[in-house]
C-alpha cells in the first residue's frame, strides 16, 4: 500500500458542508475513493524505490520489469550518455537559472539543437524545457486570432492545451478520418490561416496515422502541417525520424514536435523545421521565453543520446522484434488489443472496465510487472487500457516472462 501521507486527491479535511473552489473536484475525489475502497493499490501513486536499468526497478521492495516507461531505446543508462551528463554537471554546474533568451543558453543548448538538425536533416531546431511546453508554445504562438487549427480528436493533452492557450478557431475531426479532415478544411473561410495537427503514433492505442494521405489533403487546402512524433523518434522510419519519414512525406511536414523524455531518455521537448523565418519564434513564443532553460547535464545527455540514436539500427530491430512477440503472444492468450497488428512499440491491452483494469494492473504488479493504467477521460471512447511500451533492452527471455505474467494475472482476474 502507499506510504504517502498527504495524497493530492484524498484531502485530509473534509469537514463542513460549505462549498469552495475545490467543490468542482468532488466527482473525481469520489471516483477515486470508490476505486481505492475496493482494496486495490493506488495505480497513480507508485514509487520506484530504486532503478536498476532501463527495464528493471524495485517497486514495493520487489524486483519489477518495467513495461510502461516509453524508454523505447533504453538510453537512460547508456554509459556514454551518463558520462556526458556527469561531465556537464562538473563543467557547467547544476542549472542555468535563466531563460534561453537571457542567460540560459549555454554551449550545450546549441549543441543539442545542432544534434537535432543533424538527426532530422532540417535547418532549424528549438529546444523547450519539456515536450508539453513544445506543443504549448509552438501551437499557441503560430495559430493566432482568425486562424484555424484542424486536429485529430485523439490528440495529446499538450496539443489541446496549446490550442486553449492560443486564440485560433479550433476544429477537431474524428480520429484518423481523412474524409472528415478534408470536409473541415474545405469549409474554412477563404484567406484564413490553417494549421493541421497530427501525430505519428497515437500513444493510447499505439496506432499510427495515415500521414501520407492526410498531409496530401492538408497541402491541397494550403494548410501548414505540424506532426507530433514523440512516440516514434529513434525507431520508426529508415533513420528513426518518425512515421512521416517512414511514409516518405517528411519533406511535406512544416513542423515536427518531439521529446527527449522517451527514446532520448531524459527530459525536454523540441520543434524542428525548415521554415525560413523559424528563428523568430525564439522571441515571440512565451512558453519558450518565460521559463528557465534545461540544466546543462540534461542537454549534454540529450545531445549524446540523439547522436547515438542515428546509428541505432540494431537496437531498432530488437525493439520491433520485442513489439511483435508481445503483440502476437498477448493475442494468442486471448487479450483484446488496441491494434490488429503491431504498429509501434506500444501495445495497448483493452480492459472490460476500470474496476477489472485496476485489479489486473495490481495483479501484474504483484507478479513483478509494471504497465501503465490508462483510464477515462485520457483514453479514446472511455476505454480502460493497460498500456505496454517496449524497450530495445528487454531481452527475448523477459518478453516471454512478461507473457507468463499476463497469463496468470489475466486468469486470476477473469479477463481471459
Amino acid at each position: 500500500m502507499t506510504q504517502g501521507v498527504n495524497e493530492a486527491d484524498r484531502p485530509e479535511v473534509l469537514e463542513g458542508d460549505g462549498t469552495d473552489l475545490f467543490s468542482k473536484f468532488d466527482p473525481v475525489i469520489e471516483m477515486r475513493r470508490a476505486l481505492l475502497d475496493s482494496g486495490v493499490t493506488d495505480p497513480f501513486n507508485l514509487v520506484m524505490e530504486r532503478v536498476l536499468s532501463p527495464t528493471r526497478a524495485i517497486c514495493n521492495g520487489r524486483d519489477t520489469i518495467l513495461l510502461g516507461t516509453y524508454n523505447y531505446m533504453g538510453m537512460t543508462f547508456d554509459p556514454d550518455v551518463v558520462a556526458a551528463g556527469k561531465q556537464a554537471l562538473e563543467d557547467y554546474g547544476s542549472g542555468t537559472t535563466g531563460s534561453r533568451v537571457l542567460n540560459g543558453t549555454y554551449q550545450g543548448h546549441r549543441e543539442v539543437e545542432q544534434a537535432l538538425c543533424d538527426f532530422y536533416a532540417m535547418d532549424h531546431a528549438m529546444v523547450f524545457s519539456t515536450g508539453y511546453q513544445a506543443n504549448l508554445g509552438i501551437i499557441s504562438t503560430m495559430a493566432g486570432k482568425g486562424d484555424y487549427i484542424v486536429l485529430d480528436i485523439d490528440s495529446h493533452a499538450s496539443i489541446w492545451d496549446g490550442c486553449a492557450l492560443g486564440n485560433a478557431e479550433v476544429v477537431p475531426f474524428k480520429h484518423n478520418d481523412i474524409e472528415a479532415m478534408e470536409k473541415r478544411l474545405r469549409r474554412i473561410p477563404e484567406g484564413a490561416g490553417k494549421l493541421v495537427i497530427l501525430e505519428g503514433v497515437y500513444s493510447m492505442l499505439g496506432d499510427i496515422a495515415p500521414l501520407k494521405e492526410m498531409i496530401a489533403v492538408a497541402k491541397k487546402h494550403g494548410a501548414m502541417v505540424l506532426v507530433d512524433e514523440a512516440h516514434s523518434m529513434g525507431f520508426i522510419g529508415p533513420n528513426g525520424r518518425g512515421v512521416a519519414e517512414d511514409q516518405g512525406v517528411l519533406d511535406q511536414v512544416d513542423f515536427v514536435i518531439g521529446t527527449f523524455s522517451k527514446s532520448v531518455g531524459t527530459v525536454g521537448g523540441f520543434c524542428v523545421s525548415n521554415h525560413p523565418k523559424f528563428e523568430i519564434l525564439r522571441l515571440v513564443c512565451r512558453p519558450y521565453v518565460f521559463t528557465a532553460s534545461l540544466p546543462p547535464s540534461v542537454v549534454a545527455t540529450a545531445a549524446t543520446s540523439i547522436r547515438k540514436l542515428m546509428n541505432g539500427a540494431e537496437k531498432r530491430a530488437r525493439l520491433w522484434s520485442n513489439s511483435r512477440t508481445l503483440h502476437a503472444g498477448l493475442r494468442g492468450l486471448g487479450f483484446t488489443l488496441g491494434t490488429e497488428e503491431p504498429q509501434s512499440a506500444i501495445v495497448a491491452v483493452i480492459m472490460p472496465d476500470l474496476e477489472r483494469g485496476a485489479a489486473m494492473w495490481e495483479a501484474l504488479l504483484r507478479e513483478g510487472l509494471y504497465v501503465n493504467l490508462a483510464r477515462p477521460p485520457a483514453t479514446p471512447a472511455n476505454m480502460t487500457l493497460l498500456r505496454c511500451s517496449l524497450c530495445a533492452e528487454h531481452s527475448e527471455e523477459e518478453v516471454q516472462t512478461i507473457l507468463g505474467m499476463f497469463e496468470r494475472a489475466g486468469k486470476a482476474v477473469g479477463i481471459i
Binding site: 484555424y148 490550442c163 478557431e169 476544429v171 477537431p172 474524428k174 473541415r184 471512447a381
Partner: protein
Amino acid sequence: MDRAEIDSRIRTLIEPFNKKDVAVTDATTFAGDLEFDSLTVMDFVAAIEDEFDIIISMNQQAEIENYGQLVTAVGTLTQGQA
C-alpha cells in the same frame, strides 16, 4: 433558410443522440438534460456540420449550451449561403 426549417432539420439529426427521448425545447441543455458526453458532442456536431456544410469550431461550441442557442448559431453560420 428560416429558423423553422433549421429547427426541423436539427430535430431530425438529434433523434439518434437523444437516447432517453427527452422532450427537446429551446431551453433543453446538451450537457445537463441530454447528458451528452464529449464523444457524443463530437459526433452530433459533425452531423450538423455535414448537414449544413458549416464549421462549428470548439470556440463557438463553448458558447452553445442549449438547443435554442444551437438553432440560432446555425442560422448565423448559414447566412449568405445559397
